[in-house]
Symmetry: C2
Subunit: 334 residues, 2 copies
Amino acid sequence: MADKKNRTTIYQVAKEANVSLATVSRVINGKGNVNEETAKLVRDAIDKLGYIPSVLARGLATSYTTNIGIVLPSPNYVYINNIMAGMMDVCKIYGYSPLIFTFEDVEDAARAVDSVLASRVEGIVVFNSQLTSSDVAKFTKISLPVVIIGKDKLSIKNGLVDVDYVSELKRFINEEIKGGIKDIYFLKDPKKDWHMTNGYEEAIVSCVEKSKINLHIIEIADSYNVIYDYFKEKFSNQKPNHELYIATRDSLGTAVVNAGLDLGYSVPMDYEVMGIISTKNSIMSRPQMSSINVDLYEVGSIAMRMLTKMLTSIVNKKEFIFTTNYIKKETTKF
Amino acid sequence: MADKKNRTTIYQVAKEANVSLATVSRVINGKGNVNEETAKLVRDAIDKLGYIPSVLARGLATSYTTNIGIVLPSPNYVYINNIMAGMMDVCKIYGYSPLIFTFEDVEDAARAVDSVLASRVEGIVVFNSQLTSSDVAKFTKISLPVVIIGKDKLSIKNGLVDVDYVSELKRFINEEIKGGIKDIYFLKDPKKDWHMTNGYEEAIVSCVEKSKINLHIIEIADSYNVIYDYFKEKFSNQKPNHELYIATRDSLGTAVVNAGLDLGYSVPMDYEVMGIISTKNSIMSRPQMSSINVDLYEVGSIAMRMLTKMLTSIVNKKEFIFTTNYIKKETTKF
DNA sequence: CTGTTAGCGCCTTCAT
DNA sequence: ATGAAGGCGCTAACAG
């Protein structure tokens, strides 16, 4: 419980080495001149006592920690994990410790923001912010470096790392239109606005406008099982008719594919499917899922790298937009 | 960088509210009696100044933080992410902040241990420890609560959460033996010993001993692509002959399946495949992958829950072994 | 009910 | 090259 932990302190090391704590501090941090002999004395004492400096005390004294906050929605989608992995690896390289704060929704995001602020992190990476302007004000007030992954609706003067899925999405749809597709179904989660998903719907709408395409929006939870069941029933009642389904993530696309396959239909002959955000699943599924490819691990690592730079120097280019490639695989004709 | 951040402190709040800092501290922590009117004064001051207490100072003063360390290997396998998600959710529920420490190998693990110790976490969860006994000694010395997920080779007197894949693995193999299987191939990563994988090989060996089965160990990196390529070539040169392949993770099994499918073979008619650790991939792949099911999210959340209990009370039952179910799907005959 | 004071563990001038 | 002393922001007795 709240019983004092018996950690060895810098005082004990100083005593053991018969020096002052200032000297110990110097050898720990490699600052100031210390006689090699006394330094060795100190080092031996540290080893003997198994002394590990407290980042708390150090942080308090220097008003500088090595903590970095990562704020992101709690659902653990594979692609978010890829981003996280990229962030965490870069954190380690630069000697920062990532503190993770997850949130469920907008109100919860506010709580997460307070937590991360209380933790006295040096900077934070926010995944596709659901943050309000008042949240953001808290950051800017204390000039805390922030990198945002995903659309920056608030146009904060901070780092921005985004992925331009939209261009490729448009290109793909236009190809399909030229190919003569008649109906496009877009699977949209009515509740959530994650997935760097902003602009998907608009992009599709804009492509379709001047064509004879019928665009249908299917509001459905972004869950494999929910979507699989939905389409299993849909295709049972009404056989597919060469339409195109667009899902936000490849695994959701796989749900649509599998529902049809399990009923004996074939993709892309009977209907086409594409998932926007690509993960390894695109390669692993059969037929392989057409999707828009970008290395999400790289996205995370670039974001974190940008933050570390903002921490140590003035950064001029605070924006990094990933371009993407639509990869035609086996679930679409174009 | 190391420029003092200009955070509002408890002193400034006290000044603004015309009270002493002790009073502010009291309303913040809800401890001690404070006149409602002055409390409101304080709250207003806090709001006005946007004051957020420093966990550093608080931690230093109380020698108590709300940080929990999570130590795990860096590769971001899906199933590890499931475990992490479970841990993080429980962390949030109990008001702890998870600090993530990843490591690459044994030496790196030592570094991670020092980092986590320096961070003055209240407790730690270690995933399938590659930790040495000297690492562990550091924990026990300061009696830091530790929960280990996976095999506890060091038999530490700490929390242990493990998954008994072995029993089901044996059961499955015995079924296959009764079914008349002749050759079993076990895919084994020669370098790594993660995946709560300890005992898999021994289990298989013990099952096979008294039978006429030929057991083959294939040492191969646990990478989808590597395995896919390997089997693409293998099956090209030598057609499958009703043998059984056992991979540690379902997605690796999918690599074996896909390699054959893409060459025109069929599973499980031409050969059988099973992946031990199950993820959503087992359901999503076609044919669906036979695997040993356990809710890994639950594993993570149980582990973290156990830790939080160890933090607040004496825990007697410090062990939780998950039982598992072999789920026969479509890639095996039994 | 509220204020005063002494730390928590460490860094950092400032002397020596 | 080393030591002494003040301070980082907060909590927790202890007084009043």
